[in-house]
């Protein structure tokens, strides 16, 4: 065997290797070896841990890769052993940017940065960036930080697109706003999580996801629990709203709830059947259908509608009256979700 391992201390081992190598091949400079090391890692598509280990071995100190967005830290000691960090990085430690979204590579040492350390940082960061760029999709679809980024209109488009690549998003996708949960992104043909109360955004290109997200959140305001006390659809798709979306936004600009909404809200408080009955009338294709939905006799429904008409002050037997009711129900849900009711 050509190279022998001597003292037990890892740093010396590395130095030993370097020394013997320099002895055998005086032309090979340390920097060239570092470049060759990371070139080789990249060629063989080595993973992040191998890259961080290479950096730690060549720099002779612990090295960590901190990737706040993907909530991942890889830390390897100079002897190649993986060890979780116990302390926050020291601001004085030399570091290099791995990705525009905040991943950095840090050498855990103080003092001036020599040529070898500088080349290690530069080459290892480039190799790690290549890994991050090619390991996007699988298992990351629900990375909340990346999803949050891709939905946020306040984030620079280039960064949103970078996040979309890492999430492995297809050319057509849409935002989903689940009730009481963080936003999701699903492919255009993909079903949103079943059974979950949610608003579904429009199908868009990844760059337009903030708009899809806004639409999904608006659609979410129009959902209900789907119970007797909170009747209405559990899932609302923005694409089904048509002009209703405009109305909701217009109503938002009003100082308070619209008069029809206030009236409906008052009526809903008078008896438990009111809201469920009105929702069924809007949902079902006919009054008979509504009676079946509510599991009441047709004449009972007629009596209830008469009382409701009296409370609301408009006719529910006409198409116009039912449309007015439909809008009032929807706007009430939207106002309630906003907390203005």
């Amino acid at each position: 065997m050509l190279v022998t391992r001597y003292p037990a201390e890892h740093d010396e081992r590395v130095n030993d290797l370097a020394l013997r190598l320099a002895e055998l091949d005086p032309q090979a400079s340390a920097a060239v070896r570092v470049v060759g090391h990371f070139d080789s890692l990249m060629t063989s598509r080595a993973g992040l841990q191998s890259i961080v280990r290479g950096a730690a071995t060549l720099a002779g100190c612990p090295v960590r890769l901190v990737d706040p967005l993907r909530r991942r830290t890889v830390r390897v000691r100079a002897d190649g052993v993986v060890e979780a960090p116990e302390e926050e990085p020291d601001a004085a430690w030399p570091s290099a940017e791995v990705s525009a979204d905040g991943a950095v590579l840090v050498l855990e040492r103080t003092g001036p940065v020599g040529t070898v350390e500088a080349v290690v940082l530069e080459r290892a960061a480039a190799a790690a960036a290549a890994v991050l760029a090619r390991t996007p999709s699988r298992g990351r679809g629900h990375d909340p930080a990346l999803v949050e980024m891709v939905l946020d209109a306040g984030v620079d488009e280039a960064e949103r697109l970078a996040a979309a690549r890492r999430l492995g998003l297809p050319a057509a996708c849409r935002a989903v706003a689940p009730w009481g949960g963080a936003g999701l992104v699903v492919a255009a043909g993909e079903e949103p999580p079943p059974g979950r109360r949610a608003g579904i955004g429009d199908v868009v290109a990844p760059a337009e996801l903030p708009a899809s997200w806004a639409a999904a959140r608006l659609a979410l305001r129009l959902t209900a629990e789907g119970t007797e006390t909170d009747p209405g659809p559990r899932v609302v798709s923005a694409e089904s709203l048509g002009a209703l979306a405009l109305l909701v936004r217009a109503a938002d600009d009003e100082p308070g709830p619209l008069p029809d909404v206030r009236t409906l809200h008052r009526a809903a408080g008078t008896a438990p059947w009111v809201l469920a009955t009105l929702a069924a009338v809007v949902e079902a294709p006919s009054l008979r259908g509504a009676a079946r939905l509510l599991q009441v006799h047709h004449s009972t429904l007629q009596d209830r509608l008469a009382s409701a008409e009296a409370m609301l002050g408009w006719d529910l037997k006409t198409a116009e009256g039912r449309l007015r009711l439909h809008l009032a129900l929807a706007l009430r849900r939207a106002a309630r979700a906003e907390g203005s009711l």
Partner: protein, 325 residues
């Protein structure tokens, strides 16, 4: 496992981390007999007695003990744990170097690391090297040192029932040979044999030898150089002793338990795997590790690499089981 076709199969790819380290060796001249003097130059990084003592953990001494009949004395490097209250197990270690180079401090840090963890003594033998000393000189030196160590166990504070032989590469072949010799000659009872990428077969014609020619740090040509230094024109012929090349042994029964490890991307892969298979076939006990993408000496050249750490850990676990008092 001989090759039936003349075309060499594609080489096994080297593990990515190991390949990056190996890249540093690109452009080195091939290992030839002419390089032996260059490679034998004193190593300025060789561990001193103080390094080996590891802050007083070990008592370190060099001893010249009787060699084989009519041969010079053999130098043993003896490292014993200080303050041991009961006899300790011992690793009788043989360095690598293709039979042509190295000394009893080369590679000794690994058995010393085992000794630190398991409370063992380490005895490393400075056997004479080929081609200056052809077979059987080197292996007889090793055997003489082993016999002395076992006989001096009481004086050294070693438990004679817990001596394992261990070796790296050429030293692994020597360790396997010592197990055969001790069996055949009624020598010391061994508690195990640690064969790290052992050099076992002078025929040098397995699939892996052919497949990995031109790759790594000890390829088929280097191997031929080493065996030829040891055996001269007899290399590969009909009359090679199993004490020179343990793969030549007809009978592998009655040997101590073995751990054999080797890389999948090296010359010795198939002869080492075959040796493990023959130990089992003979009713013996062996643990075999083939580390994927490992080139010859990977765990020594790149001890930090993930699979090097795992190879080292596997040996330590085996020794712990084998030498538990």
């Amino acid at each position: 496992m001989s090759l039936t076709s003349s075309a060499a199969p594609a080489a096994v790819p080297v593990d990515p981390e190991l390949a990056a380290v190996l890249a540093a060796f690109a452009g080195l001249p091939p290992m030839t007999a002419e390089m032996i003097p260059l490679l034998r130059r004193p190593n300025p990084m060789a561990p001193t007695d103080a390094d080996l003592a590891d802050g007083g953990r070990f008592t370190v001494e060099e001893r010249a003990v009787p060699g084989p009949q009519g041969a010079p004395e053999v130098r043993l490097l003896i490292c014993r744990p200080t303050g041991a209250v009961a006899p300790v197990g011992a690793v009788y270690y043989m360095h690598g170097g293709g039979m042509v180079l190295g000394d009893n401090r080369m590679g000794v840090t690994e058995p010393l690391a085992w000794a630190r963890d398991l409370g063992l003594a380490v005895v490393s033998v400075d056997y004479r090297l080929a081609p200056d000393t052809p077979h059987p000189g080197p292996v007889e030196d090793c055997y003489a040192g082993l016999v002395w160590t076992a006989a001096a166990a009481g004086e050294l504070g070693i438990d004679p029932d817990r001596i394992v032989v261990a070796g790296t590469s050429a030293g692994g072949g020597l360790a396997a040979a010592l197990a055969l010799m001790a069996r055949d000659r009624g020598g010391p009872a061994l508690a195990g044999q640690v064969l790290m990428a052992p050099m076992l077969d002078d025929r040098n014609d397995t699939v892996s030898a052919v497949q990995m020619a031109g790759h790594g740090l000890w390829d088929r040509a280097a191997n031929e150089m080493g065996w030829t230094a040891l055996l001269g024109v007899d290399r590969g012929g009909p009359d090679v002793s199993p004490y020179a090349a343990p793969a030549r042994a007809d009978d592998l029964s009655g040997l101590p338990p073995a751990i054999i490890d080797v890389g999948s991307a090296e010359t010795f892969r198939d002869e080492d795997v075959a040796y493990a298979g023959r130990l089992w076939a003979a009713g013996g006990q062996a643990e075999l590790h083939v580390w994927p993408g490992g080139f010859h000496g990977f765990d020594t050249v790149a001890p930090q690499a993930q699979i090097s750490q795992e190879a080292q850990a596997a040996r330590l676990r085996w020794l712990r089981r084998q030498l538990a008092p």
